[in-house]
Symmetry: C2
Subunit: 337 residues, 2 copies
């Protein structure tokens, strides 16, 4: 049983038709028709100690920021902005009060940065370690929502920034490399304190240029496969165009790890991946510039269903590999894949 | 640091005024103005293995139902009905597939029973044990919402059903008593599969009779203290009127445990506690009857701030004790109280 099978099982039993629920399980957010041409967006994500973070490596203030950012990233991936946030926090009975204060400060600071407000939730005892669930609420115009399902063959595939930094950064932290190393700092920072690209997502949605969008939480291979599955398309990625690769290759000189693997399968970068007609590239770049970002075109939506990567080899040759769903699976151990 | 202090710390940093957020941290649900005289209600609760449930005692199908009921109870306590639900489920990598299917079936069955739909969430690996966060969304007329803060001195305090059954039932399960014992079955059932009194909550809100309402998740002493704190009142409870006490006394003959302690401090009954003018008792009973419930008047809202209990003693005498916040605290170990 892997994560997709769990979600599939729940999804099949989720209940009958409800004309106001425009999107249920299967996209970055659920979408509910609020009338008057407006929709409500809802997303929920959990971070668990020992799985998503290591308290020995993660300063509590940055962890507080991260639990907000990873959820708001889902709101941005639909083209919306966050309005309100609920927090359910599980703490061991012996939790450190100073740790909690820093965590809470980071969390509420991040809410302020993103323009949303903490409005509720609960706190529970969690003897085996900290866990933190967050729900974020957004709103937007119904006809501007960008789903995963709208990609069309021939579309250009864009990402909003470098891939694989968070995975490499986590590896560096585990090996004891610090942020004082110039080559390491941006990678480590991406793991500790990723930014949700919510302003870009909102402006892309408003521009009407974008056909499909998803945030990169489980890695390019898996998240692009989700988007392609929903859109009934395939994709071809040009490996040499993946942004940030040169920095990953540099890091690979100091520590063990495959730069391509980081870029293709590493999760938690929280960049946006989106598709648009090949004719609007200039406009996409202009939207990016207004958000102080440089989106990069990394491939093309195709017919079929496979997500393939053209990978440059050391001898100048290339090979094409199928990377469909080869990214992070929360139940990898179980599925045995 | 106890739970109230944690919530207080977060609440103070939750962000500036937002005129659309009618209720933030501090009630059963957050309340957001949706325009047109309608509000959105949101609540979030987490159940953690080893704290809120024991897999050896809790059949997975009933646990799936319970995670829905405990959240919908909060929606009912504002006078609303549930519309949609998000689930964030943490499972150990080696989780049992049959267990998951039963849990998911119970959860989705309960959604159907309560008339709401599972619309999203996520699944994560949780090596140290199962945890389950749920967010529920409801909607209603703005001017019918019943907050914790509306109680008035002289109000009659009502509960929708027996108190202490869930706490006693858990004790029985731990001692190996089964549901085949007639005296034990209703207690055990209340722990395993509590019902959210959402129909009663909705009808009470629509009746306009009720001044304040809360659901009994942390026990009478603590939840009534929350309501009194928000309403700037005190309360006096008549111990001999607590519903279900005779059955708790019967259980106390078979197993160790203080029936009064179960009734006053035991959490998780998920009955509603509400207050209304003493003049409308007949109308309250009529609303209860329409919902097949028998609300019981257990005391009076007073001036001051203390929650007191008049307890009958064995010799026919009575004593008055202060029970303010003497119920369940999720961080009891830490606060040392």
């Amino acid at each position: 049983v892997n994560e997709r099978q769990i979600i599939q099982y729940l999804s099949e039993r989720a209940g009958g038709a409800d004309s106001r629920i425009l999107q249920s399980i299967g996209d970055d957010c659920a979408v509910i028709d609020q009338g008057g041409g407006r929709v409500l967006l809802l997303t929920m994500d959990t971070l668990i100690e020992g799985v998503h973070f290591d308290c020995a490596l993660h300063p509590p203030r940055l962890l507080g920021r991260k639990v907000v950012s990873v959820n708001i990233s889902d709101i941005g991936a639909m083209g919306s902005r966050p309005h309100a946030l609920l927090l359910s926090l599980g703490l061991p009975p012996s939790f450190d009060e100073q740790w909690f204060r820093c965590f809470a400060d980071g969390l509420t600071d991040a809410c302020r940065d993103y323009g949303c407000r903490l409005i509720g939730g609960d706190t529970v005892a969690s003897p085996q370690g900290i866990n933190c669930s967050v729900t974020v609420l957004g709103e937007m115009e119904m006809d501007r929502v960008v789903y995963r399902s709208g990609a069309q063959p021939g579309d250009t595939i864009w990402v909003s920034g470098p891939l694989g930094f968070a995975a490499a950064g986590l590896e560096l932290l585990r090996l004891g490399v610090g942020q004082d190393e110039d080559w390491a700092a941006p990678l480590i920072r991406r793991h500790l304190d990723p930014m949700a690209r919510v302003e870009l997502g909102g402006q892309l949605a408003e521009s009407g240029l974008v056909h499909a969008m998803i945030d990169l939480s489980d890695g390019l291979a898996t998240d692009l496969a989700h988007l392609c599955h929903q859109s009934k398309t395939g994709a071809l990625i040009r490996g040499h165009d993946l942004p940030g690769l040169s920095r990953l290759i540099e890091a690979g000189r100091y520590v063990p790890g495959d730069p391509f693997q980081w870029a293709v399968a590493g999760g938690e970068d929280f960049e946006l991946l989106f598709t648009a007609a090949a004719t609007v590239s200039e406009e996409i770049l202009a939207v990016g510039q207004r958000c102080n970002l440089e989106p990069v075109a990394i491939g093309t939506i195709t017919t079929g269903s496979a997500v393939r990567l053209v990978q440059p080899l050391a001898d100048g040759a290339v090979r094409e590999v199928d990377i469909t769903y080869q990214g992070y699976d929360h139940f990898r151990d179980k599925s045995g894949s």
